[in-house]
Each structure stands twice: as structure tokens, then as C-alpha cells.
């Protein structure tokens, strides 16, 4: 904590000596932040470099030796995508994630609209029940739902169906909570005026509420997309056929087979990371908003 003690310069420095005092005074902050940046970056960079190193090099020397001996290859990615099925697992991740994002988005928006702008008995009680359901862990569903899916004879566990349905259900409490709290902030006059003009609830929802709520809906959509894309546990339980498993499950299989083939594992880990990184970089604002809304609001 001593580092925090020295930064009491407020007025802009006028003389050279003042400027030097200021730089020295602040250097502990810079050193600590620099150290933190290193600890947060170096592990990921090490793995990224390893994913491009020939596996013979990887076994012989540490990744940090690339500074003196830079040799890179794409063969780890080629191998992991084609020979090790990460390519088809990537497609599976897309097939799992897109419907598991769109379905809860639609269903939660509709429910949130009802809870915010349609008057009906026990509305607030129902909303409190949904707030309570936020805390139901996914584990509660594992046994009953696996048994039910199995006994239904629909083959949901060997198609994407079971993953879609369960991801949707467990995303709803948060989505309804988030969107309802946003919807009630919309101007009441606007909605009442539309009602008086004879607009139906469906029309009000489609033409007023949804268009005005794009930031909140986008934040929830991004949050849910990354949640499903990054999920391992739900896929382990509900995607029980190898041909539908996403990358997160596939990579645990690779870990079992090639525990020390780091070049291969690194390439696989980065294949999982590419999409979230792109989403994060391009939509960071919405992403952080979603996160803030989920916890602080």
C-alpha cells in the first residue's frame, strides 16, 4: 500500500525539479501497474507463441527462447482443425450458441414486456419468483432433465435440442430481470399514448419497446452468446454424442490424449478464444454494460 502514499501532486509542475519529483513520486504506481500488466499478459502470450511453434522446438526449449530463435509454423492449427476434429467442433459451437442466444433473447424480452407494461394479477409476485430463480444452479436440472430427455425417446441428448432448451431456460431469469428493469425506464407517456391510439400490445412491443431497448437487448445477447460459447459443463451433460460436442468438450478430450503436446493444446485453446476476443474487442462497451447491469443494477 505504500505505493499509494506518494501521489499528492495536484498543481501542474512548473519547474524541472518539480517535474522530476512528480515522476519519481508516481513511479511506484507505474511499477505496480506494469507488473500487473505483465502477470496478466505473459501467460496468454506464452501460449499464443507456443501455438505457432513447431512441436519439436516446443519439447526442446521454452517459448521465451523465440526471441533468439524465432521459428513459426501453422501446422499445429492445421493438425488440430483437421486431424483432431476441432474444425467440426467449431461448427458445433456455432450451432449450439446461435439458437441458445436468440431463443432466450426473444422469450425473455416478451416476458419482460409483460412484467413491465401489462397489468395482471400477481405480477410483482411473479417477478420476485423470477428474481429468486436467478440463483438456481444448473446442477439442479442435471439428473431430472437427463432422465426426462432420455425417457422421452426424442433423441434430444444426441442432437442439439437438449443443449438449446436447457441453455435457454437457465438464461431466462437473468434476461427477464435485466430487460424488465430496462423496460420500466421507458417513457410511460409514449406507451400510454400508443394504447389510447388503439395499438395492441404486440404492436407496442414490436414498434416501441424493442427498438428503444436495443442497448439492453444487445448487452444481454452478447453476455449470453459468450456464456454459451465458453460453457463446458452444460455441454458435458446435455450434448452426449461426439458429433455434436462443442470445442470446450473436444479440448478436454485432447487434454486426455495429449497431456503434454502443448503446441497442439495451445492451438486448440486459441481456437476457442478467437470468437470471444473478436466480440470483446469490437463490442466491449455493450459487454461491460451487460456485466454492470447484471451485478450492480
Amino acid at each position: 500500500m505504500t505505493a499509494l502514499q506518494d501521489t499528492t501532486v495536484h498543481a501542474p509542475p512548473r519547474t524541472l525539479s518539480e517535474r522530476i519529483v512528480r515522476i519519481i513520486g508516481r513511479s511506484p504506481v507505474h511499477i505496480i501497474l506494469g507488473f500487473i500488466a505483465l502477470v496478466w499478459l505473459v501467460p496468454s502470450i506464452g501460449l499464443l507463441i507456443t501455438s505457432f511453434r513447431p512441436s519439436a522446438d516446443m519439447r526442446a526449449t521454452g517459448w521465451w527462447t523465440v526471441i533468439t530463435n524465432p521459428r513459426f509454423t501453422l501446422e499445429n492449427y492445421e493438425r488440430v482443425i483437421s486431424a483432431e476434429d476441432m474444425g467440426s467442433a467449431f461448427i458445433n459451437s456455432v450451432f449450439i450458441t446461435v439458437p441458445s442466444t436468440i431463443l432466450p433473447l426473444i422469450i425473455a424480452s416478451m416476458a419482460a414486456f409483460a412484467l413491465a407494461w401489462i397489468k395482471f394479477p400477481f405480477r410483482d409476485t411473479i417477478f420476485l419468483v423470477i428474481v429468486a430463480l436467478l440463483m438456481v444452479p444448473v446442477q439442479i436440472g442435471f439428473i431430472p432433465l437427463v432422465v426426462a430427455f432420455r425417457e422421452s425417446g426424442t433423441g434430444l441428448l444426441t442432437t442439439y435440442g437438449a443443449v438449446w432448451l436447457t441453455h435457454t431456460a437457465f438464461a431466462l431469469p437473468f434476461g427477464i430481470f435485466l430487460l424488465r428493469n430496462f423496460f420500466i425506464t421507458l417513457p410511460r407517456d409514449l406507451i400510454e399514448a400508443a394504447r389510447i391510439d388503439g395499438a395492441s400490445n404486440v404492436a407496442i412491443f414490436r414498434t416501441i419497446v424493442v427498438p428503444l431497448s436495443v442497448p439492453a437487448i444487445a448487452a444481454y445477447g452478447i453476455f449470453q452468446f459468450l456464456w454459451v460459447w465458453n460453457d463446458l459443463l452444460m455441454a458435458l451433460i446435455y450434448a452426449q454424442s461426439g458429433s455434436i460436442q462443442p470445442m470446450t468438450v473436444e479440448v478436454t478430450r485432447l487434454l486426455g490424449t495429449y497431456a503434454t503436446e502443448w503446441s497442439l493444446l495451445a492451438a486448440a485453446a486459441f481456437l476457442i478464444m478467437i470468437v470471444p476476443l473478436v466480440v470483446f474487442m469490437s463490442l466491449q462497451r455493450y459487454f461491460v454494460q451487460g456485466l454492470l447491469a447484471g451485478s450492480v443494477k
Binding site: G62, L115, K119, Q139, F170, T185, S295
Partner: protein, 317 residues
């Protein structure tokens, strides 16, 4: 309308007059129906089913033989993998306690320190983005990143390469019951500090600079300002972050599954891992159900906290 605090914002009570009364019930049903169906079928029904199954042997993939409290008694008294009291205590539940104590407090503290420091530098946005990045990526990828750092081979693993430069022998931190939980908690902190930083930094920016200036004029040191002004003034966001992190711990699974699979032995298990392990690879559905109910029970205080907080907000509006 039995609940005490109807939010005052919804359409006025007259909304029933602007739409004919007969339409209202149908509209609510149309909009709320799909969500209600999903929640009843996939959350409410399974909760009841799992609760009952926790009193059943649950061998043959469903209900088989009622065993009363057997699963519960075994869980808390006869299963050292779940809870072994003694000195030192061990087991999955105890590991969750370690996680709650160390992961939660250090994440909040580090998040707060970074948030305070970052406001003083010009590269604030960059440092926050760097530290927040792990929030966006899969726990599976984080697990591989850190298995690689922890690799016992000093020609591969960064940690042992660094230890080698100071003359310490290579150690397999994930391979020893003495170090495995600390190594995992460190990774957990690495993954979550960004979350704490982003939320707390938003709160710190809300503190008026006049208060801080006044304290400085009165001769307060920066350490005093940190503990006596900043920490109390952001105590609500701190409690929100703390609760979120505690929930993270109770639900923690992916990281453990990929990094250690609960090992060596069962020394790094946590409850969510035990639930999976007992119910699926072992096929003990009744026993696994009891663990799932333990998770739910641990989350009920948070449930109450959320409802209270929501009601308080509704009253304020």
C-alpha cells in the same frame, strides 16, 4: 398482489380501461407464457425432483429405493472427499470455504487497488482492458493457459523456469495436495480481478474529488484515504462484487475439471465438481442430488439478498 412493494412505475391502474379488460389476460399469457413454461419445466420441476431424489438411492437412472436421510448423513459424516473435519480439514466443501476466504477477498482487494491506481495514469483504459480480458474467454482456455504455466518441466513451464533462475527445484504445483488448491485459487483470482476492477472503478469515479482534496489538505496520507474514504464510500459495490464472487465459487466447475479433475486424489474437489463426479461418472443419482441441493441451500441467502435489494430499489423509485 400480496407482495409489499409493487414498483410504482408500471402503467397506472387505469391501463385496464384503455384496453378492454378481456384482452389483458390473454396478452399477459401470450407474452409471459413461453418463459413460464420454460421456467416451470426446466427449473421448478427439476428442483422438486432433485429434492425428492436426494432421499432416494437413485441407482437405476431415477427413483429406486427410499433411503431417508442416508445420502445426507453419508455426505456430511462419512465422505472424506466431500467433508473431512479434523486438523487440517479437507474435502470439497472445505475447499469451497478456502476459495471463499482467499479468492473472494484477494480478488476484491486487488480489484480495488488496480481501480484506484488506474485512475491516476494515462493508460487507464489499456490496463483495464488487459486485466479484464480473462472475463471474455472460456474457463477451459484459462485452464490450459495455466496448466502450461504450471508445467513441471522447466523447459516448458514458465513458473518452474522462473523458480529455476533463483535455484529452486522444479515442482509440480498441481500434483501435490499441499499446493494444488492455492495454485487453482491464484488462477481464479487472475480470471476475476478484471470484473472487480471494472465495477469498482465505475464506483470510485463517482466519489467527488472535493472530498479527496479536502482529506489531502487535512494531511491524510494516501493509505488513510484508501481505507477511510474510498473503501467506505464504495462499500455497496464492494458488497455486490463480493456476493457475485461467492456465487462464482459455489458454481465453480470448469476450471477444476480441466486443470486437475479434482485431483491429485480428491484434494482439489469443490462441491460443483463433486456433484458432477458422483452423479455422472459414478452414477450415484441420489447422492449427487443431495450435493445439488447443498448448492441450492448455499445460494438461498444470496437469493434473499437479491430480493431485498430489488425491493429496496423498487421503493426508492
Amino acid at each position: 398482489m400480496t407482495t409489499a412493494s409493487p414498483p410504482a412505475d408500471a402503467p397506472a391502474a387505469t391501463s385496464g380501461t384503455s384496453r378492454p379488460g378481456r384482452g389483458i389476460g390473454w396478452a399477459a399469457l401470450l407474452f409471459l407464457g413461453p418463459a413460464a413454461l420454460f421456467l416451470l419445466a426446466f427449473l421448478v420441476y427439476p428442483t422438486i425432483y432433485t429434492l425428492f431424489l436426494s432421499f432416494n438411492r437413485g441407482r437405476a437412472g431415477g427413483f429406486s429405493e427410499w433411503v431417508g436421510l442416508d445420502n445426507w448423513i453419508t455426505l456430511f459424516t462419512e465422505d472424506p472427499n466431500f467433508l473431512r473435519l479434523g486438523f487440517p480439514p479437507s474435502g470439497a466443501l472445505w475447499n469451497n470455504v478456502l476459495w471463499i476466504i482467499f479468492y473472494v477477498s484477494l480478488t476484491v482487494l486487488l480489484g480495488l487497488i488496480v481501480a484506484v491506481m488506474a485512475t491516476r495514469v494515462r493508460y487507464e483504459a489499456a490496463i483495464k482492458a488487459i486485466i479484464f480480458l480473462p472475463m471474455a474467454i472460456a474457463a477451459t482456455s484459462i485452464a490450459i493457459i495455466w496448466r502450461f504455466v504450471y508445467s513441471p518441466d522447466p523447459e516448458t513451464g514458465l513458473l518452474n523456469a522462473l523458480l529455476g533462475t533463483v535455484g529452486a527445484g522444479p515442482t509440480a504445483v498441481l500434483g501435490s495436495p499441499d499446493t494444488v488448491n492455492w495454485a487453482l485459487i491464484a488462477v481464479g483470482i487472475w480470471g476475476s480481478v478484471g470484473f472487480a476492477t471494472v465495477i469498482l472503478s465505475a464506483a470510485i469515479k463517482g466519489i467527488s474529488s472535493e472530498v479527496l482534496e479536502a482529506a489531502r489538505v487535512d494531511g491524510a496520507t494516501e493509505t488513510q484515504i484508501f481505507w477511510r474514504i474510498i473503501v467506505p464510500m464504495v462499500s455497496l459495490p464492494i458488497s455486490v462484487v463480493t456476493v457475485t464472487l461467492v456465487v462464482n465459487v459455489i458454481k465453480l466447475f470448469d476450471l477444476i475439471y480441466v486443470m486437475t479433475a479434482g485431483g491429485p486424489g480428491a484434494s482439489s474437489r469443490v462441491i460443483a465438481f463433486s456433484m458432477y463426479q458422483e452423479a455422472f461418472p459414478q452414477g450415484r443419482f441420489g447422492y449427487g442430488s443431495a450435493i445439488a441441493i447443498v448448492m441450492l441451500l448455499l445460494l438461498i441467502p444470496v437469493m434473499i439478498f437479491n430480493i431485498r435489494r430489488f425491493r429496496a430499489e423498487a421503493v426508492q423509485q
